[in-house]
C-alpha cells in the first residue's frame, strides 16, 4: 500500500481526534446530560486496547476460548461496582483524589512513601504495556506499507521506523494540550474523555466491519467457518480447551482482570477521576459488559479464518483481521481495520499517560521538590506554571520510556503476555485499596509491606524471566535460582513447581501481599492521621455532607497566608470565588485577614490543593506552613458529627421556619380578609340601619301626632296615614332587598337555568312599566335583532334586572321630554341589553361606584330615591349568569346602563 496514504490516514485520524476533543472542551459548558452517561461508559471501554483488537485473535488461534477470560472477569465483577466503584467515586470526590497512587496514599494517612511506591509500581508495570500499543501501531503500519516484501519490524529502514516515533510525538502533543489544560487534576478532561469515547466507537465499528467482512464475504456465515474449521483436526483445539490447558491460568486471568478494570491507572482515571455524576455508573454497569460482549463476537471466527485461508504465514496470527482484507485486496476495509487498531492503541496510550503523569508529578516529583528548600521556593513562586511544566515533563518522560522500551525490548513479547504482566502489577494494589475501603484497622505499615513484597515477587517471577529471555541476564538464574539458591528460581519460587509462570507469580505475590498487609496492619499501630483517613474512607457516605468541615488538624496560621497560598495555586479569581462560597456556607468572617484561620478553612485549603498536587504533596505543603498540634481521631469524629448535626439541624430549622412563615402568612391573609369582611359587614349594617331610620322617623312621628292630636281633621289624617303607608312599604321593600341580596351573595338563591326568549322577557317588563311611563310622558323606543340566539338563565331574576334598570331610567330621565331606548344586540357570543335614558347622567367619578351597595350612603352626602341596593342586586344577578354589567354616558345626554349574557351556555 502507498506509504503516503497510510501516513495521511494515521495523522488525519489524529487530527480528527484533536477536533473531537476540542469540540467537547468547547461544549463542556453546555450541559448535554443525556449523552454524558454514554460517553462515560464508552470511555471505560479504553479497557479494550490493541490487546483486544489484535491480541485476542492471536490468543484464540493458539488457545481457543482462553482469550475470553479477561472479559469474563470484568463482566462478572460489574455488578459489584455498585458497591466498590461507587464508594471509590464518592471517596475520590470527597477527598479530591487524582489517581490510584493518590488514593492509596490518602487512605493511609496521606503517606508520601506509599504514593511514591504505588507510582513506581504503576510506571514499571504499565510502561511495557504502553510500548506494546506503540508496537501494535508500528507493526500494522509496517505491514500495510511493506507487504508483501517485508513484514518484520527489525528490517525497517530508519525513515519508516520513525513513523511510530512521530505518532508518539503527536500523541504527546495531544496529551499535553488536552491533559494539562487545567492545573486541578480533579477537574474533568472533557475533551480527552470524549475523544476516548469516540475512539471506543471507532474500534468497535472497525472490528465489527472486519468481522462481518470475514464471516459473510470471505465465508458464508458462521456455520461455514465453523464447519470448515471442524474438519481440520489442527483447528479443533480452538473450540475447546485441550487436555494440556491449565484451567487455573484461566481463573487467574479472570481474577486479574477483575482487579485491572478498577485499578489500572487508565481505568481509575476514566471510571473514577473523570466521573461527573455517580449515576452515570448505573449505565456503565450494563453498557460496559455489553461492549465487551459485542467486540468479542468475531474474535474466534477471524482467528479460524486466518488459519483456514492462505495468507502470508510469516505474519503473526495476532494481525489476521488486518491481513485478511488486505490479502483479498479490500483496501477500504483494510484501512478501516488499521484505524480501529490505531484507535484502540492510541486511546490506551492517551489515558494511561495522563494517569501516569498525574501520579508521577503529584506523588513523586512534587513531593520531592517540596522537600528540597531551594526547589520549593521556585515552585511556590510560579506554582501554576511549575505544576503544568512538571506534568508536561512527566508525559514526555513516560512516552519516551515507552518508546525506548518498544524500540529495545518489546520485540520479543506478544500483546497478551505483556498485558497480563501489567495486570499482575496493578493487582498488587487490590488488598490495600479494597481492604482500605472496608477494614478500619488496615494501616500504612500493612499497606507498605504488602505492596512492596507483592511488587518484588511480581518483579522476580515475571520480569526477571523476561529480562533473561531478552538475553540481558544469565539463563542460570532460571534453572539454578538466584545466587544459585534452588528456592529462588523465578518460575519455581520456594520449590513450587505445579503452576504455570502466570499462576505461579499471581499465587506468590498475592499470598505474600495479603499476608503481610494483614499482619502488618494487625501488629503495628496506626497514627492519628491514619485513623482519621480510615474513618473518612470507610464511612464516606456518613460524612459526605459534612466533609468540608472535617477538620483533621489543629494548627495556627493567618487567614491571609492561607489565602495567598491558594492564590498561588488557583489564581486570585478562583480563590476569591472558593473562599466566598466557603465563608457563606459556614458563616465565617474571612475579611479580617490578620486573624488566625479557622481549622475548617485550613482543612478546606488542603483539600483544594489536593486536587492540584495530590493529597500527599498538599499535606506536606500545609504542614510546612501551619504550626501543628496532633489531633486524635475521636476529636475529629466529634467535630464531624457536630458539623453533620449542625448541617442537618440547620436544614431542619430552615424547613421549620419556612413552614412557620407560610402558616403565619396564611394566617395574616385570613386575618386581613376577616377584618375586611368585618368592615364590609359593619358598613353594611350601618347602611341598613341608616336606611331603616328614615322611613321609621316619619312613621313614628305621624303615629305620635295622630295619637296626640285626636282633633285633626279627616283630610289631614288621611294624608298622614297615606304617607305612613308609603313609608311602611318603603321599609318592607328595603328589607326584602336586603334579604334578596344576602341570598344571592351567599349562594342560597336557587337559580333556574331555563331557555329564555330575551325579546319576550324585555317586552313583558316594558309592558308592566308602560303605565308609569305614560304617566310621566316618556317616549319609549325598542330595537331587537331579527334572530336572537338562545340564552339560558333564571327568568325571574333577569326580569328583575331589566325592571330595575328600566325603573331607574324612568326615575332619572329628563323630566320634560323623557326618552328611554331599550336596545338588544348580539355580539361575539354575548347578548347585550342597553337601556338608555336622557337624564342628567352620572358624573364620571361616580360611575365606578353605582353598583356598590348603598352607594348613596357611602358617598356620605348624596342621596337619591331608592334603597341603594337595586343596582347591587342587578350586578350580582348578572354575574351569576356569567355576564357583565356596566354604565356609560349616552351619546347625547343621559346614561346608558347595559348588561350582557353569554349565548347558549348552560350555567
Amino acid at each position: 500500500m502507498n506509504t503516503l496514504l497510510v501516513v495521511i490516514f494515521s495523522f488525519g485520524y489524529l487530527l480528527l481526534l484533536f477536533g473531537v476533543a476540542y469540540w467537547a472542551e468547547k461544549k463542556s459548558n453546555q450541559n448535554n446530560n443525556t449523552l454524558k452517561p454514554y460517553v462515560y461508559a464508552l470511555s471505560m471501554a479504553v479497557y479494550c486496547t490493541a490487546w483486544t483488537f489484535y491480541g485476542s485473535i492471536g490468543r484464540a488461534a493458539d488457545f481457543g476460548p482462553d482469550f475470553l477470560a479477561i472479559y469474563i472477569g470484568p463482566t462478572i465483577a460489574a455488578p459489584l461496582w455498585f458497591l466498590i466503584l461507587r464508594k471509590m467515586i464518592r471517596i475520590c470526590k470527597a477527598q479530591r483524589i487524582t489517581s490510584i497512587a493518590d488514593f492509596i496514599s490518602a487512605r493511609y494517612g496521606k503517606n508520601t512513601s506509599l504514593g511514591t511506591l504505588a507510582t513506581i509500581v504503576c510506571v514499571l508495570g504499565v510502561i511495557p504495556y504502553i510500548s506494546l500499543q506503540i508496537k501494535a501501531i508500528a507493526t500494522t503500519f509496517a505491514f500495510l506499507v511493506n507487504h508483501p516484501q517485508q513484514t518484520s519490524l527489525s528490517s525497517n529502514i530508519s525513515l519508516l521506523s520513525n513513523i511510530p516515533f512521530w505518532i508518539t510525538v503527536l500523541l504527546a502533543v495531544f496529551i499535553i494540550i488536552f491533559g494539562t489544560r487545567k492545573v486541578d487534576s480533579t477537574e474533568r478532561h472533557e475533551g480527552m474523555v470524549t475523544a476516548v469515547a469516540f475512539e471506543s466507537i471507532v474500534k468497535l465499528v472497525a472490528f465489527l466491519v472486519g468481522g462481518i467482512f470475514v464471516v459473510f464475504f470471505l465465508f458464508n456465515g458462521f456455520d461455514d467457518i465453523f464447519s470448515r474449521a471442524a474438519a481440520i483436526p489442527a483447528l479443533q483445539k480452538s473450540f475447546t480447551f485441550d487436555a494440556s490447558y491449565n484451567y487455573t491460568d484461566w481463573l487467574v486471568m479472570c481474577i486479574l482482570s477483575m482487579f485491572a478494570v478498577l485499578l489500572l491507572p487508565r481505568q481509575f482515571q476514566v471510571a473514577v477521576v473523570e466521573n461527573v455524576d455517580e449515576k452515570h455508573l448505573y449505565k456503565a454497569i450494563w453498557l460496559f459488559p455489553l461492549y465487551l460482549l459485542i467486540i468479542n463476537v468475531f474474535v474466534l471466527p477471524i482467528a479460524l479464518a486466518g488459519q483456514l485461508l492462505p495468507i502470508s504465514s510469516n505474519f503473526e496470527a495476532d494481525f489476521s483481521i488486518l491481513s485478511l482484507p488486505f490479502v483479498y485486496h479490500h483496501q477500504g476495509i483494510t484501512l478501516l481495520i488499521y484505524l480501529g487498531g490505531f484507535s484502540a492503541a492510541t486511546g490506551m496510550i492517551i489515558v494511561e499517560t495522563i494517569a501516569l503523569s498525574t501520579m508521577l508529578s503529584n506523588n513523586l516529583l512534587i513531593p520531592l521538590i517540596l522537600k528540597v528548600a531551594p526547589f520549593k521556593k521556585i515552585f511556590i513562586h510560579k506554582v501554576e506554571r511549575s505544576i503544568k511544566n512538571i506534568r508536561r515533563l512527566s508525559i514526555i518522560l513516560i512516552l519516551l520510556l515507552a518508546y525506548a522500551y518498544f524500540a529495545e525490548i518489546a520485540e520479543s513479547y506478544s500483546l497478551v503476555s505483556t498485558g497480563l504482566i501489567s495486570f499482575a502489577a496493578v493487582a498488587q494494589f487490590a488488598p490495600a485499596v479494597i481492604g482500605g475501603m472496608f477494614w478500619s484497622r488496615a494501616n500504612k505499615n500493612g499497606a507498605l509491606l504488602g505492596i512492596i513484597s507483592g511488587f518484588i515477587i511480581w518483579f522476580f517471577t515475571l520480569i526477571i524471566p523476561a529480562i533473561i529471555g531478552a538475553g540481558l541476564l544469565p539463563k542460570e538464574i532460571l534453572s539454578e535460582g538466584l545466587f544459585g539458591l534452588g528456592l529462588l528460581k523465578p518460575n519455581q519460587l520456594f520449590g513450587l513447581s505445579a503452576f504455570t509462570p502466570l499462576t505461579h507469580a499471581f499465587f506468590w505475590s498475592m499470598f505474600i501481599n495479603v499476608l503481610l498487609y494483614v499482619l502488618g496492619s494487625l501488629y503495628t499501630k496506626s497514627t492519628n492521621q491514619e485513623e482519621i483517613q480510615a474513618e473518612l474512607f470507610i464511612n464516606v457516605s456518613k460524612y459526605r455532607v459534612a466533609y468540608e468541615t472535617s477538620v483533621n488538624r489543629t494548627g495556627q496560621i493567618k487567614i491571609k497566608e492561607i489565602k495567598s497560598l491558594m492564590e498561588q495555586f488557583l489564581g486570585q479569581e478562583k480563590t476569591k470565588q472558593l473562599l466566598t462560597h466557603f465563608s457563606r456556607r459556614y458563616q465565617l468572617n474571612l475579611l479580617q485577614e490578620d486573624a488566625n484561620a479557622d481549622q475548617r478553612l485550613i482543612t478546606y485549603a488542603e483539600k483544594i490543593l489536593s486536587g492540584v498536587i495530590g493529597s500527599a504533596s498538599s499535606r506536606i505543603l500545609i504542614e510546612s506552613i501551619v504550626k501543628e498540634e496532633e489531633i486524635s481521631l475521636n476529636e475529629v469524629v466529634e467535630i464531624l458529627k457536630e458539623s453533620q448535626q449542625f448541617i442537618s439541624l440547620n436544614k431542619e430549622l430552615q424547613q421549620k421556619s419556612e413552614q412557620l412563615k407560610k402558616a403565619s402568612d396564611a394566617l395574616e391573609l385570613a386575618n386581613m380578609q376577616m377584618k375586611e369582611a368585618e368592615i364590609i359587614k359593619d358598613d353594611f349594617l350601618y347602611s341598613i340601619t341608616h336606611e331603616l331610620r328614615t322611613p321609621l322617623t316619619s312613621i313614628r312621628a305621624f303615629s305620635e301626632i295622630l295619637y296626640d292630636n285626636p282633633e285633626i281633621d279627616t283630610l289631614q289624617r288621611q294624608q298622614f296615614l297615606a304617607t305612613m303607608i308609603k313609608e311602611i312599604e318603603r321599609l318592607s321593600r328595603l328589607i326584602t332587598q336586603v334579604l334578596d341580596l344576602e341570598k344571592l351573595e351567599s349562594g342560597k338563591q336557587n337559580i333556574q337555568h331555563q331557555e329564555i326568549a330575551i325579546k319576550k322577557l324585555v317586552e313583558d317588563v316594558l309592558h308592566a312599566l308602560s303605565q308609569l311611563m305614560k304617566d310621566k310622558n316618556i317616549t319609549l323606543s325598542t330595537s331587537f335583532p331579527e334572530h336572537l340566539p338562545v340564552v339560558y338563565g333564571d327568568q325571574d331574576l333577569l326580569s328583575r334586572v331589566v325592571n330595575n334598570l328600566v325603573s331607574n331610567a324612568i326615575k332619572y330621565c329628563s323630566k320634560k321630554d323623557g326618552e328611554i331606548k331599550v336596545m338588544v344586540l348580539e355580539n361575539e357570543g354575548f347578548i347585550k341589553i342597553n337601556i338608555t335614558d336622557n337624564g342628567e347622567g352620572i358624573p364620571d367619578k361616580d360611575k365606578n361606584y353605582v353598583f356598590n351597595k348603598f352607594y348613596q350612603t357611602e358617598n356620605q352626602t348624596k342621596k337619591a330615591e331608592g334603597s341603594g341596593l337595586g343596582l347591587a342586586i342587578c350586578k350580582k344577578i348578572v354575574e351569576l349568569h356569567q355576564g357583565e354589567i356596566g354604565v356609560v354616558d349616552a351619546e347625547k345626554s343621559g346614561t346608558c346602563f347595559y348588561f350582557t349574557l353569554p349565548v347558549a351556555k348552560k350555567l
Binding site: 350601618y686 340601619t689 341608616h690 336606611e691 331610620r693 328614615t694 322611613p695 321609621l696 322617623t697 316619619s698 312613621i699 313614628r700 312621628a701 305621624f702 305620635e704 301626632i705 296626640d708 292630636n709 289631614q716 294624608q719 298622614f720 304617607t723 308609603k726 313609608e727 348613596q856 350612603t857 356620605q860 352626602t861 348624596k862 342621596k863 337619591a864
Partner: protein, 130 residues
C-alpha cells in the same frame, strides 16, 4: 309662654318635613321649609330664621355645609342649629358639634321630646340674652 319664633326645616324627605312642620306650627312657631341644602341657604337669607332643624344627607349641599354657612357668617352665627339625622355614629355627632351645632337629634325621634328640647333651647337662649 313660648315666644313665636321663626324656624327653618331642612330635609329632603317630604314625609319627615310634613310631620315636623305640623308639630312646630302646632307649638306656635313660624315655619319655613327647604327640601335641599341650596334651598336652605336661600331661605336663610330670605327669612332670617332663629332656629334651623337640619338634616345631614341631602342630594346637593349637605347639612354640615349648611351649618358651616351659618356658623361661619357674622350675620347668621347666632342662629341655633339642631341636627336631625339618621347618622348615629359618634364621629358624625362630634363633627356636628365641632361645627357649632346646638343639638343633635337622632332619627327616629320622639315628637314630644323634640318640642320640649326646642323650647328648652329657646328658654336658655332667652336667659343668656337677658
Amino acid at each position: 309662654m313660648s315666644v313665636a319664633r321663626k324656624v327653618l326645616i331642612v330635609d329632603d324627605d317630604p314625609a319627615i318635613v310634613m310631620s315636623v312642620e305640623f308639630l312646630l306650627r302646632k307649638a306656635g312657631f313660624e315655619v319655613f321649609i327647604a327640601l335641599s341644602g341650596t334651598e336652605a341657604m336661600v331661605k336663610i337669607k330670605e327669612h332670617q330664621p332663629e332656629l334651623i332643624l337640619l338634616d345631614i344627607m341631602m342630594p346637593d349641599v349637605n347639612g354640615y355645609e349648611v351649618c358651616d354657612f351659618v356658623k361661619q357668617s357674622e350675620a347668621y352665627k347666632h342662629i341655633k342649629v339642631i341636627f336631625i339625622s339618621a347618622k348615629s355614629k359618634d364621629e358624625d355627632i362630634k363633627l356636628a358639634y365641632s361645627k357649632g351645632a346646638d343639638l343633635f337629634i337622632i332619627k327616629p325621634f320622639s315628637t314630644r321630646r323634640l318640642i320640649e328640647k326646642i323650647t328648652a333651647l329657646n328658654k336658655e337662649d332667652y336667659k343668656t340674652i337677658n
